[in-house]
Subunit: 218 residues, 2 copies
């Protein structure tokens, strides 16, 4: 039985990667994989892999390894990506357009049901088969259509005002590309932040660290 209660956030962060990798090798016809092989292919240690899988029950068999299909299926269940949640996206700029297409094409777990922007030049045009609607009409839209999740692709200043309105509409989960710290204002909402500036600073840190190491060695 899966022990799903206390999975740490670092394990959770690795689950999508395991899932993608297992889906890929399943398609290639691989039926079993050892923790050693899996760790090698995913740049982790074998003991880390075993510990991770131990968090949600044991599937490995001595000498045979993990069943790829069972493991992929179990991770799919833990992630819950067989569910489908209706989502709206606000901010149809470059990043918003890219994200809308990603959700429409790739996402197993979200149905994009509406796209909003305040730019009169964008309103009425389409991203794939979804028409961009005036942000002013979010309340009207949400009174007619069930919406679970909002994807915020707007600047920080707009996110502040929008999140108030979306919260009032009962929306409690956000995929947040703005720099606005939603969880500070609404501690009860679910927020997955994608902060590209932070990601870039992290890259910068790693480059500096590498350069210091190289200097120390030379």
């Amino acid at each position: 039985m899966a022990k799903r209660e206390n999975i740490s956030s670092s394990v959770i962060r690795r689950l999508p990667r395991y899932y993608r990798f297992l889906s890929e090798i399943e398609k290639q016809g691989v039926t079993h994989i050892s923790s050693r092989e899996l760790s090698k292919r995913m740049s982790l240690t074998a003991s880390q892999v075993r510990q991770d899988f131990n968090c949600f029950g044991e599937f490995g068999q001595q000498g045979i390894g993990y069943s790829v299909k069972k493991l992929r299926y179990e991770i799919e269940n833990i992630l819950g990506i067989q569910c489908r949640y209706p989502a709206i996206l606000i901010g149809a700029g470059n990043i918003g357009t890219a994200i809308a297409k990603q959700v429409i094409f790739d996402s197993r777990c979200f149905d994009l049901v509406g796209i909003f922007d305040k730019d009169k030049q964008k309103i009425g045009s389409n991203i794939l088969d979804i028409t961009i609607t005036d942000t002013e009409r979010i309340e009207e839209f949400c009174s007619n259509t069930l919406v679970n999740t909002a994807i915020l692709c707007v600047p920080k200043s707009a996110a502040e005002e929008l999140s108030d309105r979306l919260y009032k509409l009962g929306i409690r989960s956000f995929w947040n590309f703005s720099h606005y710290d939603l969880s500070m204002r609404f501690p009860d909402v679910i927020v997955e932040n994608v902060h590209l500036g932070d990601s870039l600073m992290t890259l910068c840190f790693m480059i500096n660290q590498q350069q210091s190491k190289n200097k120390a060695q030379s």
Copy 2:
């Protein structure tokens, strides 16, 4: 003296957030902040904040708290964002265009020196003041211009071929938006992955977990 050698990756991930927050309150004229206040404002525990800052030396004074300016400055130094690295971006689609603008406008640590795409319709047009060049000409470009970092905004299939070429050109750091696992092929490169699909699966997991909790309580 800062103990910068063994900072864990989870601390590193928090540094950009500390940095942003401290920069913000510094602008507002705040000179000192306690670990308790800082933790409250950042949704962390006070002991976590103290532990994090302890990783790179101690700056807090009993009863006064941390000097915002000194702490911000120290984190800036640890992240190394006062450095500037020349970067090229490959793939000027929606996401690439958004990222290019982000790097040009926001980034303190990277100078975007070139943008490449294989689409003949895009080649020759501009993103801000940078002209999109044919991907075929990357080698020529890099023989004339110092490039430290590549930003990959291309599909997985293209990333595989491109990363080979970029590696041969001596590029060892990547901001990777493709789904291609660079560090598997080149264990010696620095890679900061932004995997939007994984981020979406994580959001899905959090929503499911919340719904299970709500069901259990009702």
